[in-house]
Each structure stands twice: as C-alpha cells, then as structure tokens.
C-alpha cells in the first residue's frame, strides 16, 4: 500500500457511457471471456455447416434420370397418356368427355373404383412429348369440374360437375400463334370461354390431342398410384397436320412418375367414333411426395437442430452458472436495474447467436447445394431472396431460441433444469415432426403451437392446390408461413423473458 492518506473524494468520475450501453458492454465482456461459451457458439455454427456437408455427400444419385423442369424453372410431373397428332400453325380440336373413372389399389393386387379428385381427361396442345415441355390443356377432372391449365402451375376453373354419359362435357382448344383458348360446353352448342393463355415455346408444329392423367391418391401416411380411364366422343380437328393418332406414355421413366399399377397400362382403343383412353401420372408441379429424392434447403440445414442444442446449453448456462457460483449477486450489485441486466444478456446472447447462426447458414447452404448437385441430387429451387430468407430465418430462430433458453434459465436458476426445459420446448417437437410416420394432423399441430413452429423459416416448397399430397413438416411443408411460424417462437421467448424479468425483480438474489 503506497497510497497517500489524503481524504477520499467521494463519487469518483462520472464520465463516459451511461445506462444500458454500459450494462450491454459488461455482458458482452462477460460472454466473450468464457472460452466455453464462445466455443459452444462457434460449434453451433460449425454443426450447421457440418450437417450440410454430410447431407450433400451422403446421397448419391448420379445415375438417376433427370427431373423434368417446367417453363417456370420448377420441377414438374409430366407423365400422362397422350393420344396425339401434329398440328402445324393455327387450328383447334373439340371432343366430348362422357366418363372418367379411376381405380385405386386397396391391396397388393386389388384395384377398386374410387375417387381421384385431380384425375384429368381432356385436350392438350404440347410442344412435343419431352417431359417439361410447354403446353396448355382443358380437361374434365375427377372432382373439380372442368379446368384449364398451362405451364404446370396455372389452373383456372370452368364449369363444375362431373362428366357422365347423361351429362357429358364438350371441350375445345384453339391455337392462334402463341395464344391458346379453351372453351367448355354442356351441350356441344353453347360454349363458355374458360380462359385464354399465352404459351411461349410452342413450335410451329405442336402436338395436339387427348390425354388422361391419374395422380397418386393419399392413403394414411403414404400415397398410392392410381389409374384412370376416360371415354371420349366426337373428336374433331381443324387445321393442318394430318396423319393418324399415336398413343404414347409421356415421361415413362421420369423420376416424378410412379409407373402403372400391376396389370394396368396406358392405352387407347376406338370403336364407332368412341375412344377409350387409360392413363396414369399427372401434369402438375412436382411435390416432395412425387419427388422424394429431391433435396430442400431445410434438408441441407438439418444441422439447425444440433446447433439448437448447443445454443440452448450455452444460453441457459450463461445465467444459471451465475446462480451456481453466486456471481449473480455481483452482477446485480454492478447493475442494480435488474430488468436492464436481463435485457442486456438477451441482446448479447441473441446477437452473438444470430451472427454465428447466419455465418453457419451462409456457408452451409451453398456448400450443401454444391455437394448435393455434384452427387446428382436434385435440389428444389429457391430464389435468392428465398434463400436469404431461409438463412436469416435460421439465424433468427437460433437467436430467439437462445433468448428463450436464457429466460428459462433465469426462471429456473438451475442449469440442468433449464437445458431440459428448453430442449423439451424446442428440439423435441422438431424431432417429432421429423419422424416420417407421425400422423399429419399431429405433426402439423406441433408445427403450429410449439416453439418448433419457427422451423417454417426454412420452408422453400410451395403447396400447389391442384396436387393432392401429404403436406407435413417432414416433407418440407409447414402449416404456418415463415413469418407466422417465427412469430410463434418469438412470442414464447417474449413471454418467458417477461416472466423472468418480473421474477428477477421480485426475488431476493
């Protein structure tokens, strides 16, 4: 001790930053000076990258047939039975559909008549038979009336009701340049225009004719292929082209086509102006169920759940170790505004976790995509804006989860208890939704009401209304939109943080 014994001047210097920034600075210093917390957070980021690399290299589909891509760039199902002839230049075709019946398998070799709402039978004009080529079609469906569709994703409703022998539907499709117009009629004389569409990419000579498609139907937790048969009459073509009718299965080897059921095949037979056509498949956007080998950004970011565990442990321990060692008393002695201390901890932890999560996601997505494509895996496309949303959303989810875990730690004041609670709230529901045999209702419920709803930020697949399939988180379809799903987690975190703040204020430290 060499201090001089002059009377002490009370107060000290009161310059520099004040209030919340100081508490924030202190909490940041606290965080960065515990090596375990820093390495835990870095580990979380690395886990995201590591799982992406594993997802990318573990699948090998180099010999798989190419996935048909539609004019919009998305994967499509383009497999159907096509009875066609060439049409050069402008022209048109009309027909009446008097029946559309579907068969659904009920056992290994047992087919029974059943309803396939999106079974299709009608007229189509298409730029050849290459899967994914441009087309426009007007059709009768099993349960959705007359529809006009083009480009695989566009769908317009025409007259409703089924086509039967007593009440057939007349359909007409006309080409003028790139303009295709579809008409429907219930009597063959009075026509209603369904829609006019512009189809780019139709060559001067297109193929025109009849088609039948029969998409898979959903049975419990899986889908089964179906086959449908339609009866056409009064087929009339006007325009140049000529030649006879050719029956052909489009896209028989396409990965989005499940093939024909046992003892069935695509066919067409004609007698007395009546044509009977049998077909399977669909002309529609591909969904996960029809393209199960396809990968999504959510698959590449599988490591998010592992990162979540690491982040949760760091976040919970960052406050519970203060209680265990008694450091919380010094913390509150240095910053007597307790709510402010808790908020500063949340900001530091959330900020650090966001940065780590974003770094991980920014590295993982391009790496995973590149490795997957190198191995021939088809990755469902996402725009760069969507990709950025997935990456930012993943980082925000990890950050918000860390704040939830911190708040649980402040409420429970016990490390193991807080980590367990956070994992039960966050990781467990996510793992349950990732179980393939989880019923869709249960899975969707979990993805709506639990904090795991936030995983919807990784959703890149759209749910086409004209495709019946299994839309579950397991398949990459979340019941909530990305923003809404994230809001569920944010609400949990905000409420828990508020409870923690109230308890911290009220309780003796």
């Amino acid at each position: 001790m060499t201090r001089t014994a002059t009377p002490h001047r009370p107060g000290g210097s009161e310059s520099g930053r004040d209030g919340f920034p100081r508490v924030l600075h202190a909490e940041w210093t606290k965080f960065r000076t515990v090596p375990g917390w820093v390495s835990g957070t870095v580990t979380a980021a690395l886990l995201v990258v590591l799982f992406a690399a594993l997802a990318g290299i573990s699948a090998d589909q180099k010999d798989a047939p190419p996935v048909p891509i539609g004019p919009g760039g998305g994967p499509v199902t383009d497999s159907f039975y096509f009875v066609h002839r060439p049409l050069t230049g402008n022209g048109g075709v009309t027909v009446s559909v008097s029946a559309l019946h579907s068969l659904i398998p009920t056992g290994p070799a047992d087919l029974r008549p059943g309803a396939v709402p999106w079974a299709k039978a009608g007229l189509i004009i298409k730029d050849g038979t290459r899967p994914g080529s441009p087309y426009a079609a007007i059709m009768v469906t099993g349960g959705h009336g007359v529809r006009m569709q083009d480009g695989y994703v566009h769908d317009t409703a025409g007259p409703s009701g089924p086509a039967t022998a007593a009440s057939p539907r007349w359909l007409r499709l006309d080409r003028t340049g790139d303009t295709i117009t579809g008409h429907a009629s219930t009597d063959g004389t009075h026509w209603t225009k369904v829609r006019t569409v512009h189809v780019t990419g139709l060559g001067p000579t297109a193929h025109i004719g009849l088609f039948v498609a029969s998409p898979p139907s959903v049975h419990g937790m899986g889908t089964r292929g179906t086959v449908s048969t339609a009866v056409f009459e009064d087929l009339r073509v006007h325009g140049h082209g000529g030649g006879g009718w050719t029956g052909e299965q489009v896209g028989p080897d396409s990965p989005t086509f499940a093939g024909y059921l046992a003892n069935t095949t695509g066919s067409f037979t004609g007698s007395g102006g009546r044509l009977t056509v049998t077909g399977a498949g669909d002309v529609a956007p591909a969904v996960r169920e029809t393209l199960p080998t396809g990968g999504t950004l959510a698959d590449i970011l599988t490591g998010t759940f592992a990162a979540l565990v690491a982040v949760t442990v760091v976040a919970a321990l960052s406050i519970t170790t203060e209680y265990r060692t008694g450091l919380i008393r010094l913390t509150l002695t240095a910053g007597p505004s307790r709510a402010r201390v808790l908020l500063a901890k949340a900001v530091v932890l959330g900020g650090v976790t966001f940065a780590a999560g974003l770094a991980g996601a920014l590295l993982a997505v391009p790496l995973g995509e590149r490795l997957a494509r190198t191995n021939g895996v088809y990755v469902f496309p996402a725009t760069s804006a969507t990709e950025l949303r997935v990456q930012l959303g993943t980082a925000a989810t990890l950050a918000t989860a860390s704040i939830l875990a911190l708040s649980l730690g402040a409420v429970l004041r016990h490390g193991a208890g807080a980590v367990t609670a956070a994992i039960v709230a966050l990781v467990l529901p996510h793992l349950l939704t990732a179980v393939p045999f989880m019923p869709a209702d249960a899975s969707n419920w979990l993805a709506r009401v639990t904090p795991a709803a936030a995983f919807s930020v990784q959703q890149t697949l759209e749910r086409p209304h004209q495709v019946t399939s299994i839309y579950t988180p397991y398949n990459g379809y979340y019941p909530l939109a990305p923003g809404a799903g994230f809001a569920v987690l944010a609400a949990y975190a905000a409420v828990t943080l508020a409870v923690a703040a109230v308890l911290l204020r009220r309780r003796d430290a």
């Binding site: 014994a5 000290g12 100081r22 000076t33 008694g326 450091l327 003796d508 430290a509």
Partner: protein, 321 residues
C-alpha cells in the same frame, strides 16, 4: 445508535435503520440499525446466522427487507447511477466464473461502470494478483479469490467499502496485508465495514464495533469504549499478605474480591482505586506484593459477554429450540 445524526444529504457511508426481514417463519433481521462512518473501520461481528450477511445483502439491494431502510451515501443502493463508485463490496459468495480469468472478471465489472482496463490493472497490482491475473479463476485458492474480490471492491475507487468475511481462507500474510489495507483505506477517509464471526480478527483493525445477535445490533460503540466498559477499573493484585492488603485498601475506599479475571492463590481483584494509588498505599504500609496489574479486557471477552444470550447455535450438546 440513532442514525438521525448522520442523515444529512452529503453524508457518505452507510446508514442502516430498523431493518426487519423474515425467511418464511425464521426472523433473519429484527430491527437491525447501525451506521458506518467515514474514516473508520467498523467491524460487524456476531455468531453465524446473526444476520451479518443478510444485512449486507439488504444494503446492496440484493435482498428486500420487510421493513426499515438501508442507505448508501444517503440513497438506496439500487437508485445509485454508478453504484461501484459509491460502495465497493465483497460478498462471501462472490465467486468468479471458473472459466474466466481474474482480469476478465474485473474487466466486465469495469465495463459495467464505464471504467477502463487501465483501472483494472491498477487494482490487480494493488491486491498483488498480477502474476495470476490472466489465469482462469477456477484455479485460484480461496485466498486469491478473496484478493480478487477485494480488487473488485476497490475498482470504482469508492468512498465506502463493505467486506463480508474477507479473512476467510487467507494465509497469515494475506491477513496481515488485508488488515493494513483496511487501515489505510480508513486513513484515506473512507468508511469501511468488515464483518467477521471471529472477534479476534477485529483486534487492532476496527475503530468501531457493531456486535450483532439474533438479527439486531446488541452493541454499537467505539472499540475503546467497549474495552473500557468490559475492563471496568479493576486491578489484579498478587500478594502473600492478602488479608492485610484487603484491610488497608478497603479502608481507602476500594472493593476487594478474591475472584476476578485472574484468580489463583494470593491473588485478589481490586476495584475503585487506580493502580498507582494501590502501589503507594501498599508501599506506605509495608505490605509485600509481587504484582499489581491493571486488568485489560480483550475484544474476545467483550464479544463473549455480549453474545452469551444471543448465540444462535451454542456449542452445548442441547439443541437450540
């Protein structure tokens, strides 16, 4: 005892008035009142469970009292803008995170108060922790952790310091160093409050003592006053002619008893006469004596006297209540 005398706004130090607090049905504080004045080392002593640590936690705003006030520099601790510039504290349980170095432990604390790393290195040097400052605190001995805690208390250069059991786990060198530090802090005009459950630790460092038992101050006085009160003005006299001496001294107005702090054969205790007068009387009457000693009580004696009825956990085999 009354805090009113010190309560002018500019007052530095700690004023505790009428604190009451219960944990469930157990009363921890039962009307605790005392003041800690600048320029003095005030000892807060009492048996374990008497309410010393609870009082300190209430002063720091960590625990809420059911009744009463605790003011630091005239204000409740939690209303202070930069609390470490008003009151530096070391709590018994203020352990650093084991994975963080001692220097980093002080660094975050400094950042919380807008202080610099230079100030951190100053206090590390002041407490003699420089060689260990960058090691993980998990490897520190209890004595090193106490020094780190003292460094934290000094960080804000506060006019008031409050240390809970700072000697616990310290080696003799550390104890001597801490005593000197506390004396010098008081000499600089700071108010220093030190708690201990061992009265012996207060010997030679405390100017003022607050003795607590069962949640309240049972004595609050200057050390010199307490010692004088406990010593009385008793003189121990050793003489082979005890009966003769007793007659002479009694005639001169003294009270002579055969019992007292130092009993034994040929030993009596004289009160009511100063030692010099006794020597003169005995010499004048040719009474032989081998020893005349003014009795000095120790703080230990004072403490035992004061806390005899308030010890929460007496060492007798009967369990308390």
């Amino acid at each position: 005892m009354k805090p009113t005398a010190i309560r002018e706004p500019a007052a530095t130090g700690i004023v505790v008035a009428g604190l009451r607090k219960r944990y469930g049905t157990t009363p921890a504080l039962d009307g605790m009142s005392f003041t800690v004045r600048p320029g003095l080392v005030t000892g807060l002593v009492g048996p374990n469970g008497a309410g010393k640590s609870t009082t300190m936690r209430v002063i720091l705003g960590l625990d809420a009292a059911d009744a009463g006030t605790a003011l630091v520099d005239g204000r409740p601790y939690r209303s202070l803008r930069r609390p470490l510039n008003h009151l530096g504290s070391l709590l018994d349980a203020a352990a650093p995170h084991p994975g963080r170095s001692g220097r980093d432990h002080l660094l975050w604390l400094a950042h919380a108060q807008g202080l610099t790393a230079r100030r951190v290195d100053q206090v590390i040097d002041q407490v003699g922790l420089t060689p260990a400052a960058r090691r993980k605190a998990g490897g520190y001995s209890l004595g090193m952790r106490q020094r780190l805690g003292i460094a934290a208390a000094l960080l804000g250069d506060p006019p008031t310091l409050m240390l809970d059991e700072p000697f616990n786990g310290m080696d003799p060198d550390g104890i001597i160093w801490t005593r000197r530090l506390l004396r010098s802090l008081a000499a600089q005009g700071r108010a220093v409050l030190v708690s201990s459950h061992l009265m012996g630790e207060m010997q030679d460092i405390a100017d003022h003592l607050v003795v607590v038992g069962r949640g309240r101050a049972v004595a609050d006085a200057a050390v010199t006053e307490l010692l004088a009160a406990a010593s009385g003005d008793r003189v121990v006299l050793r003489t082979p002619a005890a009966a003769h001496a007793t007659r002479i001294l009694t005639r001169a107005g003294a009270t002579v008893t055969a019992t007292g702090p130092h009993t034994g054969p040929d030993t009596v205790t004289v009160s009511g006469l100063p030692a010099e007068r006794i020597v003169t009387l005995l010499g004048g009457n040719a009474v032989p004596f081998t020893e005349v000693t003014a009795h000095r009580a120790t703080l230990e004696d004072v403490y035992l006297e004061l806390t005899r009825e308030t010890v929460e956990f007496p060492t007798s085999p009967q369990a308390p209540r």
